[in-house]
């Protein structure tokens, strides 16, 4: 990453301070009525804007001059038809939205599991790098992370979290809807493991609980799930069965988004609810969001 000047730092800091005051009042209202979920279905080239508009529009999340981090899942060097990685065209739409909202910088990033060069090539993520203000960063080096405390953590006490998100104003999580051989499904919450240094450590402790604890430290401002296609078996790396859904799910509440997404397809040929997925349930139990789809305000639109 480039360094930032002192002036930029002050600007960003001031912006963040003002920004942090704003949504609190908005959130407070929402908590009473349950979290909003925006679901757009139809033409793949319009889904992101439509879904984000349903939860308040991009201006609610990105202010002029903001630095935005977008975190797709490009962790696997699988070909795009495999469904293991976030569709680059969907990420590109989000990048465009951020630029439309006058973001000063957009950083698209992931800590890939397979070799970063191969992951970038196979996911075709460079198609989303459409402007000079947009950078692609792979988080493969330890110095890109800052050791961060996990308050009240049982499985995690400290964890190395990507510095980039701590320096940014907005974090947008863009997972792909897919199955997972260990955690059952892998959406937004599981995708947070792409923002930490030692992901293997989470497998050595209670994985489901550790993911929930990680979500107490990394809190995306917005989660947008690429469900244009879902890898319903053989995840997270594939190959497996894919179904075409042509959907994008957006929301602020990370638990609600994941819990809703559990219901949009059959995983391993079975229907599940968010309560049946251990890591989503653990996150709800930590008070990170609403797991009951009955208490969500779900807005749907066809485009």
């Amino acid at each position: 990453m480039d360094g930032i000047t002192r002036r930029e730092f002050i600007k960003i800091g001031a912006g963040a301070a003002i920004f942090s005051l704003l949504p609190k009042s908005l959130l407070a209202k929402e908590e009473n009525a349950g979290p909003m979920i925006g679901v757009a279905e139809g033409d793949n080239s319009k889904l992101v804007r439509a879904a984000v508009d349903l939860v308040g529009g991009i201006d609610r999340f990105v202010k002029s001059g903001d630095t935005v981090c977008i975190k797709p899942n490009i962790s696997f060097a699988s070909n795009i038809d495999c469904g293991a990685t976030t569709n680059a065209a969907i990420v590109r739409q989000m990048v465009q939205l951020c630029l439309d909202a006058n973001a000063s910088r957009v950083i698209v990033m992931d800590h890939t599991i397979h070799d970063a060069t191969l992951c970038v090539e196979r996911s075709r993520i460079e198609e989303a790098i459409i402007d000079k203000k947009v950078n692609l960063v792979t988080l493969q080096q330890e110095r890109q992370y800052a050791e961060t405390e996990v308050p009240g953590g049982k499985e995690l006490t400290t964890i190395g979290v990507a510095k980039a998100i701590q320096n940014a104003d907005v974090l947008i999580n863009m997972p792909v809807a897919k199955s997972h051989s260990a955690t059952g499904v892998s959406f937004g919450l599981k995708g947070l493991m792409g923002l930490i240094w030692d992901r293997g450590y989470l497998h050595r402790v209670n994985l489901d609980r550790a993911i929930a604890e990680l979500a107490t430290v990394i809190k995306p401002d917005l989660t947008v799930v690429d469900a244009t296609k879902a890898l319903t078996t053989g995840g997270p790396g594939g190959p497996g069965k894919t179904v075409i859904l042509n959907k994008v799910v957006a929301g602020i509440d990370p638990v609600a988004v994941d819990s809703y997404t559990v219901r949009i397809a059959q995983w391993y040929k079975k229907s599940w609810s968010g309560n049946q997925v251990k890591h989503i349930r653990a996150a709800a139990e930590l008070g990170l969001g609403e797991i009951d789809t009955g208490k969500m305000r779900i807005k749907e639109v066809r485009v």
Binding site: D115, G200, H203
Partner: protein, 485 residues
Amino acid sequence: MSFLGLFILAFIQTRYSVPVTFQNLFFRFDPLIFIVVSIAYRTVLSASLLSISIIAATLVFGRFFCGFVCPLGTTIDVFGIFSGKDAGRKTKLKHWKYMILMFLVVGAILGVSFLHLLEPLVIFERSLTLFLHPVVAYVSGLFGLGAARVYTESMIALLVFALILGLDFISRRFWCRNLCPLGGLLASISTLAPFKIVFGEGCTQCGICEKICPTAAITVDSTSVDTGECVDCLRCINECPQKVFTYGLLPAPSRVDLNRRQLIGAVGTSIIVAPLARTLLHRRLLGTLIRPPGSIPEPDFLNTCIHCGKCMKVCPTNGLQPCILEAGVNGLWTPRLVSRIGGCEKNCNMCGQVCPTSAIRNLTPEEKTYAKIGTAVIDRARCIAWEQDRVCLICDEACPYNAISSLNETIRGTTLLRPFVNERICTGCGLCEARCPIEGRAAIEVFSIGEERKRRGSYITEEKIRLRALEEKEEDLPAGFIIDN
């Protein structure tokens, strides 16, 4: 200089996602590789037939290759500025290069290739791969650019290179004049060349030419130029104040400087050393030696591989590493897959594309996935899913062939998904071993069990296709679900 630049460009372009066109041409034009590998492998090395053009050109124009093309020669020349030795200082060892050439050829006849120890292009390429690239990658890493590059053996390669440059402190181009077997080969061919530097009339015995000749080929006293030594650098033509030198036709062959005693010495050394090259080569010691996919059978591989390191340079995961003693003493610097560092990527066939001698066959990306290089074995005592009841299954996640199944298994009352390897589907790519999250040795490791090594013919069989197409792998539901009611 331009050829040195071209060689380095070929080195830089030896990387994943750049199609192989010119990257290995230097090696395929190298007549020494052609001769030694063809003899040792008992097959005419078709990839290197191009080198006949160099032999033919040398037969006409002399040893221009050494003066103009050889990147090691150019580097030594540049380094000569630092050594500060008079170029013309004579040494009495020039017959050594013919002895070394004979040593290589007799070794090849006995079925052992020692090419990697002495071939200049190979030494130069390997030096770039094993120590220059890691150094450049490290320095650029300090500025946040590029990925790190690490090899299990860099120091010996560095020492060899430093030694060759250091010899310049004895005399200029000490290596080229006295030791280089490719130089020896081209020198013996060039003695027949009709075109050469001709020592003309009008010499005032000023001695400038003797001082500047980098290979000490000129003797002023006898107004002669040793054609075998001359590398056609043309410095004498440019520097002579009387302009006595011309490059022209003089069809009088000179003789190779090797007497019978020296010849017997070289042959004898080969006969003694060649059998010892098999030290540490016992079959049962090779269980952890994983060769790149498409490698020809091991004895042929050792004779065909020139240990140049191009496959290691191009490997996108850094998993191809130089052997130290794993393939026997003579297998030093041959490639082996060290899966703990990086596995073999599914859709990549770069090592086979780039191999200049086809020791690694150039398989299509699809066929490569059928070339089994080993089998993964789970060490249940180390595996945290088996031994510590953890929800891990990273190996299952990493496997691109669905060769690892996660199945419920009850151990002392705890039912949990635990990994199993389907050895009929496993290709030995090692992506699981690379990703295994435990410290130190992985709990899943690839051994050369079931590896397939073929000189020719396809690796794809109907049985393999059928096994892969089995609709879905056997799998229990992930542990991340709560299966209630």
